[in-house]
Symmetry: C2
Subunit: 269 residues, 2 copies
């Protein structure tokens, strides 16, 4: 990610992304005017630098112009810090922060009430207590299964995150796990054993939701410092109803996030 | 990854990898003979295809030639399946499998006994029970901190994996966590809050070891279906000494892995 100044003293954000190889162009890459430079040879192994012709090495470029200070901040390299949040921290730092921000989840309610994206719903269990709606995530264009990404949004509105879950929520979580897998298998032909099904902590919005991604897809947010497998959550709650009101939880915060400031003010970082 | 036949009926494996942008070459990329093709414009946002000159879009190429059937299998696209291993599964399927394979960890013993890589040791706690050796992982070339990757190998030899851990191992695990963080901060200047410290399950070798990677590095094997944060492991054992002899654990297996066949034979997949 690159931020460069434009003329006239106005900033622009320029984002450069290398795109995946296209299978049908690989044979071209290996023969067509391609310069190959030997780097190392050892027994049956050798490595080269390959310099492809421009038409075979497209870079996806996104420009934001004119860019505001907020745009610049968003894309500037930021240090990331791990937080180890105890239950005490949650109650005294995180929860008051969430409440003070009063993040709107109106867009979630619009989906649940069929006021928006109604045609995108893949599956619904309409039960007000144990039900949910399954929709494709906006990051997934549905053109291929490689980066399959769906979200289950629960109908209940008072569950903010993992921290609120107790054994009381087991029927809800089990219905998401079982019915969600079944719905994805039926609609997209992807079996449950090839799905990564998990919650985020911290989530990006405080209305309980569960991520379904293709196991072979290295989905953003699927790493161990943010993702919690739904099967693990279910087992932990079955072993101990107050597991998530006891256990410290780890997550990463960017240097510019307000919640990090709250932890710093409390002397916890 | 591409597998293509060579002449003379002998196979070769050709691996193509796009490399990260080099910061100092980005400005060249934006001016030098670069073809830019507008794709979409909406308000302040626009996207382009950028076609860079060959010298700015190097592809790392690795060739294995001649390649055996085993090489081909390793790189061919394989389906991946999630396994949910109960403690019962571990005892009746996984453990007998590990024992029957008698994987050699001689290379680990060589490091612990200073017979190999002695000059690479970053830190050592020599205690035979709670001690360990910290070494850079072979995947890390130590040229930059962005992909920092170290491994802590414990001196004790009877602990195969996460499944063997009980509260008895807490002093060992805590020494790895605390002393490991301190050693990385001292040697590389990276603070503990910017390290992802975790175990793999399944591990790739059955001698207990802990991974230290840069938090900002999307390290292979750091996703939720394989990685277990050391802090979480410690907290789980402190809550319940037999946590890892109770809880089902999830991991992914490739279609060609023998262990998957064992789970299939047992009717567990």
């Amino acid at each position: 990610q690159v931020t460069g100044p434009s003329g006239e003293g106005t900033d622009a954000v320029v984002i450069l992304e290398k795109t995946p190889f296209q299978e049908e162009k690989v044979s071209d890459l290996l023969k067509k005017h391609t310069k190959l430079e030997l780097q190392m040879r050892n027994d049956i192994y050798s490595t080269y630098h390959l310099y492809p012709p421009p038409e075979l090495s497209e870079i996806k470029t996104t420009v934001v112009y004119p860019a505001t200070e907020k745009h610049l901040q968003k894309y500037l390299h930021q240090e990331v810090h791990l937080i180890r949040e105890t239950w005490e921290d949650y109650k005294t730092i995180t929860l008051p922060f969430i409440q003070s921000q009063s993040f709107s989840v109106q867009w979630v309610y619009n989906i649940l009430e069929k006021k928006a994206e109604a045609d995108r719903i893949i599956y619904e269990n309409p039960d007000p207590c144990n039900g949910f709606v399954l929709v494709p995530d906006l990051k997934w264009n549905q053109n291929q299964l490689d980066d399959l990404y769906l979200i289950a949004l629960v109908h209940r509105r008072e569950v903010k995150s993992l921290r609120d879950l107790t054994a009381e929520h087991l029927p809800l979580l089990r219905s998401i796990l079982e019915e969600g897998k079944e719905a994805v298998a039926k609609r997209f032909g992807v079996p449950g054993s090839q799905l990564r099904i998990y919650l985020h902590y911290q989530p990006s919005y405080y209305h309980l939701h569960v991520h379904f991604t293709a196991l072979s897809y290295d989905a953003p947010g699927s790493s161990v410092e943010r993702a919690h497998l739904l099967t693990d959550v279910i087992d932990n709650l079955a072993l101990d109803s107050t597991y998530y009101q006891k256990r410290a939880l780890t997550f990463a915060l960017r240097a510019d996030e307000l919640l990090l400031k709250k932890f710093q003010e409390a002397g916890r970082v």
